[in-house]
Symmetry: C2
Subunit: 321 residues, 2 copies
């Protein structure tokens, strides 16, 4: 399918054959309606507008590693998986163009495919892109591997911060971590925390505003504020001085907990000291806080140095540990 630049509507799909694999795909296509485009060829065909770069990322979500069936609805699982991938486009300030969905499906999940698809479709729609391809295969455990394609005139990179730059974060942190902690302990999470855990948002339009406002570098918070600050610092060969008292925490969340809370999908961005973003304009536009939490310093032996409190910023989770 060719989606011309500025195209308004989806392209038709190709007729599919017989069999369980194609039945599953047909059911998902019915669910997606116009949110899927040109499915059925060997590959998707898309157009990159002149003057823009292709931005691409892939992200996998496995049952038992990234989610548990008893904690989330299938629709939430699908939506979260797509949001996690789309958040990587947000971190580059890219405009989503399309999404490819690879599903590994055990027998016990076959009845859930339409619900999963509904969630993926909802996240794609929020990000303004369509499902343009995918793969469905039998597997021992449920997994969703999302590849997102986007475009950007000037992608916002992880590298670009200089000593003296100011570090900002979007949103209020700690909800996903606290919800996860409650669920793991058999407690019912606070509703506000659970909402952030079950229905995170990729900060697509916010990222483009930040890039236009002059951001020098960005990363999304997937491993936790502390770990992702360290990733940002290492990528730039700097030390980030973090003012712990300024971390925007959700209610009933300590700065220490906010530092370790992963899967936030909020953005960490740096700005030159001469070009501070207008946080009040950001809040007014997106109903989301934008908070200065630190400063970029010359590298001094550690990626993140906390000031104003005794916490260990070197926390977060590691997907292989």
């Amino acid at each position: 399918m060719i989606i011309p630049a500025g195209s308004a509507g989806p392209e038709p799909h190709l007729p599919l054959g017989a069999g369980a694999e194609f039945d599953a795909i047909r059911a998902m296509l019915r669910e997606w309606g116009p949110r899927a485009s040109g499915i059925g060829d060997d590959a998707a065909v898309l157009d990159i507008p002149a003057g823009r770069h292709l931005v691409a990322s892939t992200d996998a979500t496995f049952e038992g590693v990234h989610f548990r069936r008893e904690w989330l609805s299938s629709e939430e699982i699908g939506a979260r998986a797509a949001t996690a991938a789309l958040s990587d486009l947000a971190a580059m300030a890219a405009q989503p163009l399309g999404l490819l969905l690879a599903l590994g499906v055990p027998e016990s999940w076959q009845s859930e495919l339409v619900e999963l698809a509904r969630g993926v479709g909802a996240s794609a729609a929020r990000a303004g892109c369509a499902v343009v391809g995918g793969n469905v295969t039998r597997a021992e455990s449920m997994s969703l591997t999302l590849t997102v394609l986007g475009t950007a005139e000037r992608p916002l990179r992880r590298r670009g911060s200089k000593p003296g730059d100011l570090v900002y974060v979007t949103g209020r942190l700690g909800g996903p971590g606290e919800a996860l902690h409650s669920l793991q302990s058999g407690r019912v999470p606070a509703p506000a925390h659970m909402l952030r855990f079950a229905s995170p948002r990729a900060r697509i339009v916010e990222a483009r505003w930040l890039a236009d406002a002059g951001a020098t570098a960005a990363i999304d918070i997937s491993d936790g504020l502390g770990a992702d600050l360290a990733h940002l610092a290492r990528a730039n060969g700097v030390t980030i001085e973090l003012d712990v008292a300024r971390i925007p925490c959700m209610e009933e969340v300590t700065p220490d907990e906010a530092l370790a809370s992963g899967e936030e999908y909020e953005l960490l961005v740096t700005f030159p000291p001469t070009a501070e973003p207008d946080a009040s304009q950001f809040v007014a536009r997106f109903e989301l806080p934008l908070t200065r939490i630190g400063v970029v310093r010359e590298e001094s032996g550690e990626p993140v140095r906390a000031i104003g409190a005794r916490v260990d910023p070197a926390r977060g989770h590691d997907h292989l540990s």
Copy 2:
């Protein structure tokens, strides 16, 4: 990383953090050397040359479903997974641009990551593209989900055949199916069959030759000649008349077996009767046969009609059954 159009070399990677996930990525990057480019940002940044479309496809390979550890080396498993994905670019006559690798890794496979990476890197190098991104996560069973990005000025689609068009196939069929059958029966496959099973090739340059020669539509053979002829026929709303006696079979393979042999990654293409390709030139150039095996007819109730023998062309495998 930005790979400018026509760029000669890979872009540097970003410094990675501590932990098992990053150790695994570092080990793979050492193995890939210049075959990986610009790893470590939230997403890959690539350039699509002016006048060309982006072509993208994703393909997943799971242990126990698509391969067994005792049948193939880890390097072969990596190479096959990448070839399966790259073959979808071949089916569109696209030029590979980059590859994203998502790995689900159980404990028992962690020591094999470099070997898997070697295989993926070898297939990428053969296709003339680099590994530009990926994802490594813990999982219950080993899986490789490859997303391939390519470009084409005029992508060769699955739809495009008209009644009267001639149907061609590259290569000689049946090796992968016969090797699989032997392995499943506890027998040692014939070496020639095993080579086609363990080390298939994506027909990238062959596909571009066929497109330039005037091919009207194409599909790669992943489900089996019979099943993929049916996919091609359905996509075009036609019936394909298959001359079974003309199917190019490997030694010790019957036409019936060749029809059901999947994971061939040979190409099925159609040409107008007024523009038959020069098969002898194709053979001379690629050391691979190009064989006319059928004709496209007006749709007559069945996607594939076999002539010249009594076989059931509606065979092949279904990844969800």
